[in-house]
Symmetry: C2
């Protein structure tokens, strides 16, 4: 074992990879330590439980993804083009993951929601916070597009939730078919969900 800080980081990195590829329930602390190359005894020095580790993995994964979302959705492009860029970068990220591990592992937050959210309150609450933040970020862009007269929706929060739901639904199909091309429809569907009538002008804007 290296310095203790190394061991902690190694456990986190190994857990992230294993949770992405195999989910949460399938993992034992022994598997995680083996993948991390640290003695099993050191696990409980750093983490109270597997659940505590999973919460940290979620936080770290969201810290990085939130940075990406802020960069894209808070950028200088026109509002709807930022949304388009989010879809394209999500697809590119899944494709890169597929190339490195052979399969589309999907969205860690969606995966753990369907696997775990009805079983442990702390994980459910953390996932709720993350998805709320995603919806809020999309909603800001929708509000900006609305101010430009580009979208026509009665309830911007509901519309933003529907865009994120559609994203999760198509990522589910991308994982099922191991085909990131399933995400090609996100832009067209996103426009439809935002009540955009003039599809052609919006897509070529």
């Amino acid at each position: 074992m290296g310095r203790t800080s190394d061991a902690r980081e190694k456990i986190l990195a190994a857990a992230q990879g294993l949770i992405e590829s195999r989910g949460y329930s399938a993992l034992g602390v022994a598997d995680i330590c083996k993948a991390a190359g640290v003695p099993k005894g050191s696990f409980y020095y750093f983490f109270d439980s597997k659940e505590a580790l999973a919460l940290e993995v979620l936080d770290e994964h969201w810290r990085i993804q939130r940075g990406d979302w802020e960069r894209i959705l808070g950028g200088d492009a026109e509002p709807l083009q930022r949304l388009r860029q989010l879809f394209e970068e999500t697809e590119a990220g899944l494709r890169a993951g597929q190339q490195s591990c052979g399969t589309v592992s999907g969205c860690m937050f969606g995966n753990l929601t369907l696997e775990m959210s009805n079983q442990t309150a702390p994980i459910r609450e953390r996932l709720q916070t993350i998805f709320e933040a995603q919806v809020e970020m999309v909603e800001k862009v929708v509000v900006q597009a609305q101010a430009r007269g580009e979208v026509a929706v009665a309830d911007v929060n509901e519309a933003a939730r529907s865009v994120v739901a559609q994203l999760e639904g198509q990522v589910l199909f991308a994982k099922l078919y191991n085909n990131t091309g399933r995400l090609d429809t996100l832009w067209r569907n996103g426009l439809a969900l935002l009540g955009i009538r003039e599809l052609e002008s919006a897509t070529t804007a």
Copy 2:
């Protein structure tokens, strides 16, 4: 243990309930046999493996759900109203499950797709077959609505897939928030995804 046919049915019923509430990986054969009230030794008399059992659970769950979908989507109502009825009955089914077990367990097919589809080929293939059948059933209704001039989509198969993806995405949120009200948006979003411009006339038809 009762008659062998009883034991087999008991194992299947117990596995279905446990997979719905806890997923696949978290379950051991011993848990299933305990819940079924059958001796562990009898499991391998009926099933080659936990995976073989899971495939039978999927088949049985789909046999019942397919019957519901055929009844609704093949009914006498106008095409779009059948789609609306599918959304409403899906929400009612999730609500009934929530009332009986305390939490929204979601869609078993979506749950296992995100938990397992990248890990075992037989489960992935079975889930692909089920979702293909769902999309095909929705597509038939979309084609009928298109023949009546009610929908405007370039690709009916893609539109049907997007409707099913949106359903899965909103069921994910229903599970995350333990709130079936999340599915109230399915009808409005379904119309949007089908390119229906005259939302009000369609919703009040």
